[in-house]
Symmetry: C2
Subunit: 181 residues, 2 copies
């Protein structure tokens, strides 16, 4: 069982930290093998940002996401670039404020609006997104995400981040319930 996740957006949206947190959550606090990767090149110099996480029950032989199961897009350019490459059975989550699309299979979620309105800080959009991802996909437990946040986030910002991951988890559960009903 191998799951590939691509987190994409623009620089400054905290996608690398998000990748590290979910990787640590699964690889240190759950019994998984994880490889987390960022690639830099011409596209990074254009302001795009992405982080990839591969989670597996067994050894990971090829450590790059060549066919992601899950795509998160927090910006329109990231969505336009990566959404066409997701496999048919894949899941796409996009920020409903920054991404516009007619595709019905894309799950639009108010990550950034939840961060702004419920937590009061857009900077935790990445952590709201992780909470929602945990709720919808079950690839990582909320409790493992919190352990990784406690390890990775400076203490002055920890409370903010823990509230953000809880808000994201709640958001994920609600939206998934609506889509499934």
């Amino acid at each position: 069982m191998r799951t590939e996740i691509r987190l994409s957006g623009r620089g400054g949206q905290g996608l690398i930290l998000a990748g590290i947190v979910v990787a640590e959550a699964c690889g240190v606090y759950e019994d998984k093998q994880v490889v987390q990767t960022q690639s830099y090149g011409p596209e990074a110099r254009g302001g795009a940002s992405r982080a990839e996480v591969i989670i597996s029950d067994g050894q990971i032989r090829y450590p790059q996401a060549y066919d992601p199961d899950i795509l998160v897009a927090l910006s329109q350019p990231a969505f336009d670039r990566f959404a066409p490459k997701i496999k048919k059975s894949g899941l796409i989550f996009a920020d409903s404020f920054y991404v516009h699309t007619d595709r019905k299979d894309v799950v639009l979620m108010p990550f950034s609006e939840t961060a702004r309105n419920e937590i009061g800080r857009e900077v935790v959009t990445n952590v709201v997104m992780l909470g929602a991802l945990a709720a919808v996909t079950g690839i990582v437990k909320l409790e493992s995400l919190k352990k990784a946040l406690r390890h990775r986030v400076r203490s002055a910002f920890l409370d903010l981040n823990l509230r953000a991951v809880d808000a994201g988890y709640k958001l994920g559960k609600e939206i998934w319930k609506k889509r499934s009903s």
Copy 2:
């Protein structure tokens, strides 16, 4: 031209941040392709930590360091585990306080002592190490490291980190001069 770097030590020594900073320095501020990776699994649960960086002039097809050119070891267990796997032409840098070895080919450097004694904070050992790596190997420019630090490090800690990278660069130059003479 492809260079593989493995940064290893124990959890809490800031190896992932070091990997991200050098990757961003080369991939965003210099004209390189870079893939930066961390792997989590049973060994991470044992407290070991490592980050890998692959730097290339061209496209990176295989994104894992299978045969590192450069190893940095900041702890004895990391040294014992990874040093035997470095190719003959490879370079090994180890912290002279935490690593003991009889191997004459290993470059022992007082990264942690420089951080403690010159900067007053052992927590910047990782950044001292990056400065020394830049000085000795030339794989990245000091100025690019500083740009990446300005981007990655919170402003309250930036001055500390810039002093650490300068101290490491100076240390690298001095030690390399002694070895070469």
